[in-house]
Amino acid sequence: MIVVENLSKHYNHSVAVQDVSFEVKEGESLVLLGTSGCGKTTTLRMINRLTEASSGEVYINGKSIFSQPADLLRRSIGYVLQNNGLFPHYTVAENIALVPKLLGWSRQQIEERTALLLKKLHLSPERYWNEYPSRLSGGQQQRVGLARALAANPPILLMDEPFGALDPITRASVRKEFRDLDEFSKKTVVLVTHDIQEAFELGDRICLMDKGRIMQHGTPADLVFRPANDFVSNFIGQERFLLGLKAVSISDVWNLLDSDETTGQLEAATMRESQNLWEAMEYLSESGGARAVAVYNEESGEQRKIMVSDILRLLNQFKQDY
């Protein structure tokens, strides 16, 4: 768990970050969202002390980050950079082994871990083990960067615009891969982005920042349906509808769904309750004429369905109840 209290950063006379406070619970992901220069990256870098805070406190699992040397602190925190920051003179395997080596893991332990991570990130160990980063594509480099951050299995992951340097198509696929990793759902993640879609896809909670301050801190649904001020409304802007669909998960509207039995037409369920309305709509529009999609509740084992005509109704209903 990360607790940030009244964190500020001043450069001479200008203020980069002013009195920022938030909490990230274990296993939760927080997105720091905002335009460039809003202080989101500075806030992130103060957590692993790449930037030293002017004032304020940060606690990780109840322990102040200033109570130990910065380099030791950083070894216990995964860090992913926008431009991947891979060492060009290290092979893929050497890059991934970096932190475990600093921590003094055994050779065998390191090799096993490296191979596992490469597989998880869809990079064949045989093919890429001894490759230098310059010979990889941007998407592959970013995956290796991710593997390096995850190598020592740190409980916390800090990500600074991790997909920012990728083209839109690669970005979407790497992001999706990352979101589906069990590593992502288990770890406490703080992620910086200027891309609101990304924030909605990855963030359990979002801190929208401007001029060094937090404008609103809440769930994606909070930002869309209960914007705290004009800045937040404007920031959501024309994407309100789309973001609304993304902010509402199927589980949020489970009780409003028809049971599948009424049609009996659908085969095995295609979607899970944790997915959102946007994904349901995407599925329906891409399936080529399907009128409904089956959804599955993992807890109860129940199966229901969403019809194309339902989606707008569900969204409006949720908004009213919110």
Partner: protein
């Protein structure tokens, strides 16, 4: 063809010497490079971390680069004397800037994202420097070392000026002796060394990241090995002689001492400019100098008598292109005014004023002409331009000044001086190719360096000043259309000299005495 064969023969004949000079040359280059790396790499790392220091440090290293190498060698003599040590120090100072600067640029040029990542992964400052920054800066650092190496191979030729040895000995002797083969014997190996090192280090620079680390390691070890294997020669208690490159190669110099006197003395090669001072400061005990040199007086040196006559007469006289004398007949009279006007003592005194009292050659020349009532106010100078050359030492500067004053005062001709032409070969070639119209030359030099007659002819002439003069006068006119005018009077011959006190203490009066002393104390 003939030239090529001669060169090949020369290489075969002088093979041992070329090899030993090449080894010395490599030794000088690498010993200085090693020092430059030992100081330069850490300094580069330091200023990359403490950027505020980068200005002063790079500035200081840069200043050495701007000092002409010859001048820097000169500065070293009062501090470190002569020999390999000052030569290595000078080369080290030259190599410093490329090494420091490239280390600095290499480290500061490492991608910020990579440094940020290294820090973010929890590497310490030290780990970042040695595992990330240095390996990534290595190609740039190697480029700096490559530059330094090539510079040093070139500058190391100048080490011969201060008895540092190396391929410069051949080059300078060759220039002085008008011996192209000798120049090439120094220049070709030096160029090959530069090309070779440049090529090899260029290869290293382009290697894969992992290989370049290994190569850099190998290179460092090799550098340490080469500079370690290079022993700095020491002379022990024996007398040490210092001869300038030209003297080393002349039959009326070192070769004559060996063949006629059988003189066997440990010898270093040294530039004329620093030789006397080195003798005065006890760095050397015997030098081959000029009998009219002002420093003879300044440093209280004694000439050892040439009792078996290997040094021919060196009477100075102006050598003029025949064409110029025809076009400007008045020139002959103006130059003739100096005939027989300067004897040995007078010339020594004039030289003393320039070399030691640091008076300007112009002032010394004018004072002299005034005292002889030869000085006249310059005329308009619209009758044509006479170009006077001189070699690169004080006496020649004075003579060039005297002649230009005489020409300006006694004719309507204008004068342009081209002083400081390296040695005999450069001066003579300039005259031959009509770059200059006249310069003061010495009869012995004309005979032995330029005409180079067979040994019998030399032997038949050498004892008589008149015969030598007649011979060179005839031959120069016949072969080159150059005219020797009447001699000025003094005889600036080669001479072996020692500190007067030491010569007296050892009771040495002649070169034969010296030879016997050396044999007895071997």
């Amino acid at each position: 063809m003939n030239q090529q064969q001669n060169l090949w023969e020369f290489f075969l004949l002088q093979g041992d010497k070329i090899l030993s000079q090449t080894v010395t040359h490599i030794g000088l280059t690498f010993a200085s490079l090693l020092l430059a790396m030992l100081l330069g790499l850490p300094s580069g790392m330091l200023i990359a971390k403490r950027r505020r220091l980068s200005g002063p440090v790079l500035g200081t290293a840069g200043i050495f680069q701007t000092i002409p190498s010859i001048a820097l060698l000169g500065f070293m003599i009062p501090l470190l004397g002569i020999g390999t040590l000052p030569a290595i120090v000078v080369l080290f100072l030259y190599a410093l800037l490329p090494v420091v600067r490239n280390t600095y640029v290499g480290i500061t040029g490492v991608d910020e994202a990579v440094k940020d990542a290294a820090k973010g992964m929890g590497m310490t400052e030290r780990q970042i420097l040695f595992k990330v920054e240095l390996p990534l800066a290595l190609p740039v650092i190697m480029a700096g070392i490559r530059t330094a190496t090539v510079i040093n191979v070139g500058v190391a030729t100048l080490a011969a000026y201060i008895a540092g040895g190396g391929l410069g000995e051949f080059i300078f002797a060759g220039i002085a002796l008008n011996n192209t083969n000798m120049i090439l014997a120094g220049a070709i190996p030096a160029s090959l060394l530069a090309v070779l090192f440049d090529y090899l280090l260029g290869k290293v620079q382009l290697l894969q990241p992992t290989r370049i680390r290994k190569a850099a390691l190998v290179f460092s070890v090799v550098t340490v090995f080469i500079s370690g294997a290079y022993l700095i020669p020491s002379t022990g208690n024996q007398l040490l002689a210092g001869f300038e490159p030209e003297f080393m190669g002349r039959t009326d110099g070192y070769l004559g001492l060996k063949s006629k006197y059988k003189l066997d003395i440990p010898t270093v090669v040294i530039g004329d400019a620093v030789m006397y001072k080195a003798l005065f400061e006890n760095k050397l005990d015997v030098i081959g100098g000029y009998s009219t040199d002002g420093r003879l007086k300044a440093y209280d040196l004694k000439i050892l008598k040439d009792d078996r006559t290997i040094f021919p007469p060196y009477y100075a006289a102006p050598v003029v292109r025949a064409e110029v004398l025809e076009n400007y007949p008045e020139l002959r009279n103006a130059l003739g005014l100096l005939k027989g006007m300067i004897d040995d003592a007078t010339m020594t005194d004039l030289n003393y004023r320039v070399d030691f009292l640091k008076q300007s050659p112009e002032k010394v020349a004018k004072d002299f002409l005034l005292s002889k009532q030869l000085w006249r106010v310059p005329q308009k100078g619209n009758g044509g331009v006479i170009r006077i050359g001189s070699k690169i030492f004080g006496e020649q500067y004075i003579l060039a000044e005297i002649y230009s004053m005489l020409i300006r005062g006694h004719t309507n001709l204008e004068v342009e001086t081209k002083t400081g032409l390296g040695g005999t070969k450069i001066c003579f070639d300039a005259l031959l190719h009509k770059q200059i119209d006249l310069y003061p030359e010495y009869t012995g030099t004309g005979l032995l360096v330029i005409l180079q007659p067979d040994p019998q002819t030399v032997d038949s002439l050498i004892a008589s000043r008149e015969k030598v003069f007649q011979f060179v006068q005839e031959q120069f006119e016949k072969r080159y259309e150059l005219i020797w005018l009447d001699p000025i009077g003094f005889n600036n011959t080669y001479a072996l000299m020692m500190r007067r006190r030491q010569a007296q203490a050892l009771n040495l009066k002649t070169i034969t005495d010296l030879k016997q002393y050396l044999e007895e104390n071997d």
